[in-house]
Subunit: 414 residues, 2 copies
DNA sequence: AGTGTTTTTTCGGGGCTCGAAAAAATAGGG
DNA sequence: CCCTATTTTTTCGAGCCCCGAAAAAACACT
C-alpha cells in the first residue's frame, strides 16, 4: 500500500520540481518554469525566491538571448555553480578516471590513471580508488566541504541499493562495497552505479528528442552491456542492476561465454567472441582477457576489405544481437537503440545480419520504429551520466530534502 | 518533465489512498487506515466522513471480530456494495463469459456462452459481445445507471491505451477496438485488457504475501502468455500489452510457431507444440488449431506412465520455458512464478527439464529465490483480475476524480 | 458506578497554492 | 521625450489541507 501524501511534502516536491526544471532547461525564466511544471506563477515566484535566498539559484540573462519581445524581459534563472559539487569515479578495464563537477555541471578538476585491474588485489584496487579520490579532494581549487556526493560507475553488476559491485569483468574480485568504503573514508554520500545505466542517463540528457521515455543503450565492448529506460525511468533488476542483455541465451548450449555459461549473446557479439570467430578458434576456446581497441579496428578494416572469417565473425555478432533484441522487443516493444563502444564503429558490418535476425522475431513486426544510432566512445558518456546522477541526488536529497524516493518503502506501523 | 503537484490534488490523492486501503483490508477501522496510509487520524476521520456522506463507505463491525480488547471498540469501514457496479467480459477460445460485480466485489449477475470464435466473422464476434453485455444490463437485478465501468479481457495483444485488441489467437480477426465499440454502444467507460495481466492482478490480490512487488504469471495453454508485475506495477510494453514471453526466441530458426515465425518458446511449450512433439510430427508441422484440455490431460497421463515421446515432449517444453525464463531473469532478476493453465497440471513433467535449463543461464545463479506455484484453471483468475481492474478504475477515476494517472502526460503549455 | 483504555472527533494553527491585481520593466509610437 | 501596450514578476487575500493536542465517545474490567 503506497503511503499518503503529507501536507509538508508538497513544498518539497515542488521545490525539487523547480530545480529539475532549471537543470533541464538551462536558464529558464520563471514563466517558463511555471509552464513546464504546471504550477502557478505565484508558486514559482515564491519557490524561486527561496532558492535564490539559499544560494541554489541565481538570476541572469535568459537563455534565448536574442528574443527581443515587447514587455518586461524575462529574467533567466540558473543553477549556482558554487552551490555544491559532486565527484564522479569511473572504473573500467585498466583505467580509472575521476572528476569533480560543480553544481552547474562544469568539470573543475579531473585525473585519470592507467591500472592493471585484472591482476590487482582487492586491497590495491580499493586503495587506488580511495587514493585518487583523496588527491582530487585535496586539490586547492576544490572546497572539500562543497562536495556533496560521489557517484562511482563500474562495468558489471551492482546491487539495487547502489552500494556495492557484485561482479565485474574488469577484476577477479567480487562483492566490493565501494559505496560504503568511500562513504566511510570521506564522509561523503556515495552511490555505486552500473556503467551502461549511466550511458543511458547521459544519452537522455544529450538528445532528449530521441531518447525520451523508452530507449536502449547497448555497450558493444569486450562484453555486452545494456542500459534500459522504460516509461521515463531507468530500468533495473529487482535485486541487482539487472539488464544483463549480454547474458540472454542466444543458442542453448552454444558458444562458450566469459561468464562460464554457453550460448549467451555476448559469446557471439563481445569483442573476444568476434576475435575468436575471426581467428576461427572454435566456440569452445577460452575467451581472451582483452582485445585492444586497435586490434578490433584492424579486424573491422579487414572485414570490410574482404569476405573472410572476419566478416563472418561480425555477421554472427549481428545475428546474436538481432535475436537478442528480438526477444527483448517481444517483452518491452521496440524502442530506439544506441550502440556504444568500439564495436559500434563497426556497426556497418553488424547491421545487415542484425536486421535480418530481428525480422525473424516477434519484435520485428514493428521494425519501422527500430532505429540505431552509434557512438564509439563510451567513457565520456559514462562520465556525463555519472555526473548527472550525482547532481540529481544533490537536487533531490540535499536541496529538497524529505521527498520520499523510490527506495523508501511505506511501512505499516502496526 | 513531470508535472508539479497542485494543492487540490492532495485531497484527491489521499481520498484514493483511503479507498484503496479499505478495498485491500476489507473492513479496516479508521485507526488501521491511518497506520497503513501514514496519514494522521484527523485526516482519515475527515476523509472517511466525506466518503460515508457520499455513500461510498459505510460503517459496520470491524473485520477481526473476536478481538475483545479494552477501550472503545473499532468501527469497521467497508465499501458500500450499492455505490457502483462494474462489468467484466472475458473472451477466450470458443468461450464468452460476462459478470456484473457490485462495488464490494460480489458477483450479482453472470452469463456464459460457447462460441466458435475461430470461424466467426468480425461482425458476429462483436455482435455476440455487445448482445451479451446488453442482456446483462437488462437484468432486472441490475441498475444500469450504477454500472460505471466495463473491463474486457482477451487472450492476445492489446494496445497500451487499453482500447483495442490488436491480435489474438482466438480469432483470425485483428484490430478490433472493443473498448471503443462497447463504450459507444452503452455509454459506459470500457477498457481492453490482456488476459495474463489480469491473472497477475488476481494473483496479487489472492496471495499478497507471495505475489507482492515482483512476480511472473505464465499461462501454459494453447499459447504461452505472461503477466509481469515489477516494482509493484503491472509491466506492459511501450506500445502494446507487451510481455510476449511466448515469442522470445528459444532456438533461432527452430520449430514452427503459431505466429508464423520459428523457434519461439511457444513453439516448444504451447499445447499444440507438446501435442506435435508427442505425436512425433516434426517441428515443421503446421500447428493444430486446438487441443482439448481432456486430450492434454490424457497426454500428461501417458507421459507419467511411460518414457516415450510424450514424456520427451514435456521435457522439451520444460527446456524451452527454462531457457526463456533464464533470459527473462537475466533482464529482470528472478522472481516468484505462477504457472497457470491446463499444462500447469503437468508441471511435474515440465519442472525437471525447466530447472536444468535455467541452471544453464545467467538467471540461474540466484536459483534459490525461484519458486513455482501452479494453478490449472485460468478463467476464474482472469475474471477476478478483470473485476479488480474495473473496480480500481471506479475507485480512482470516479470516487477520487482528477488524480493524474499514468496515462495523463504533463504537457508543456508553450 | 467508577476507572482505565482505546478509538474517533473536534478545534486551532500553520502552510501551501491559487487567482487577481498590482508593480515592474521594456518596446514602439507619436 | 513621454505615453501606452505588452509581458513578466511580485504581492496579497482567500481557501484548503493536514497535523497535533485535547476532548469526547464507547466499551471492559473491577
Amino acid at each position: 500500500m503506497s503511503v499518503g501524501i503529507r501536507h509538508d511534502d508538497l513544498r518539497r516536491r515542488n521545490r525539487a520540481m523547480v530545480i529539475a526544471a532549471v537543470r533541464q532547461a538551462g536558464r529558464p525564466s520563471r514563466t517558463e518554469i511555471a509552464a513546464t511544471t504546471g504550477l502557478s506563477h505565484s508558486t514559482i515566484s515564491a519557490i524561486s525566491s527561496d532558492l535564490i535566498g539559499e544560494g541554489i539559484l541565481a538570476e541572469g540573462k535568459p537563455s534565448e538571448a536574442g528574443a527581443l519581445k515587447r514587455g518586461r524581459p524575462q529574467v533567466g534563472l540558473g543553477l549556482t555553480p558554487e552551490a555544491a559539487a559532486v565527484m564522479t569515479v569511473v572504473l573500467s578495464l585498466n583505467f580509472l578516471s575521476v572528476a569533480v563537477i560543480d553544481y552547474a555541471g562544469q568539470v573543475i578538476s579531473e585525473e585519470q590513471r592507467r591500472l592493471d585491474t585484472l591482476t590487482m588485489s582487492r586491497e590495491a584496487l580499493i586503495g587506488e580508488c580511495v587514493a585518487i579520490v583523496r588527491r582530487r579532494l585535496e586539490d586547492p581549487d576544490i572546497d572539500v566541504r562543497s562536495v556533496a556526493r560521489i557517484a562511482l560507475a563500474i562495468q558489471g553488476i551492482t546491487d539495487t541499493e547502489a552500494r556495492a559491485m557484485l561482479w565485474s569483468p574488469i577484476t577477479p574480485q567480487t562483492d566490493i562495497a565501494f559505496a560504503d568504503i568511500l562513504e566511510a573514508e570521506f564522509g561523503i554520500p556515495t552511490t555505486m552505479e552500473n556503467d551502461c545505466n549511466m550511458m543511458a542517463v547521459a544519452l537522455r540528457r544529450r538528445d532528449p528528442e530521441r531518447y525520451r521515455d523508452d530507449f536502449i543503450a547497448i555497450l558493444l565492448s569486450h562484453g555486452i552491456g545494456m542500459g534500459l529506460v522504460l516509461k521515463g525511468e531507468l530500468f533495473t533488476g529487482t535485486h541487482s542492476s539487472g539488464g544483463e542483455f549480454g547474458h540472454m541465451i542466444h543458442r542453448p548450449g552454444g558458444a562458450l561465454c566469459r561468464c562460464g555459461r554457453r550460448g549467451c549473446v555476448e559469446a557471439y557479439a563481445g569483442n573476444y567472441a568476434i576475435w575468436r570467430n575471426a581467428r576461427q578458434l572454435g566456440e569452445d576456446t577460452e575467451p581472451v582477457a582483452d582485445v585492444s581497441d586497435a586490434q578490433m579496428r584492424a579486424l573491422a578494416a579487414t572485414a570490410r576489405e574482404r569476405d573472410g572469417p572476419e566478416r563472418e565473425a561480425y555477421r554472427k555478432a549481428g545475428e546474436a544481437l538481432g535475436y537478442g533484441l528480438g526477444s527483448l522487443f517481444a517483452l518491452i516493444d521496440p524502442a530506439p537503440v544506441a550502440m556504444v563502444g568500439v564495436s559500434a564503429a563497426a556497426f556497418d558490418l553488424i547491421e545487415p545480419a542484425l536486421r535480418e535476425a530481428i525480422a525473424q522475431t516477434a519484435g520485428g513486426q514493428h521494425s519501422e520504429s527500430i532505429s540505431f544510432d552509434t557512438e564509439p566512445n563510451e567513457l565520456p558518456l559514462i562520465r556525463e551520466g555519472c555526473a548527472m546522477r550525482a547532481l540529481t541526488f544533490v537536487d533531490q536529497e540535499i536541496f529538497a530534502p524529505g521527498v520520499p524516493t523510490k527506495s523508501s518503502a511505506g511501512k505499516n506501523v502496526a
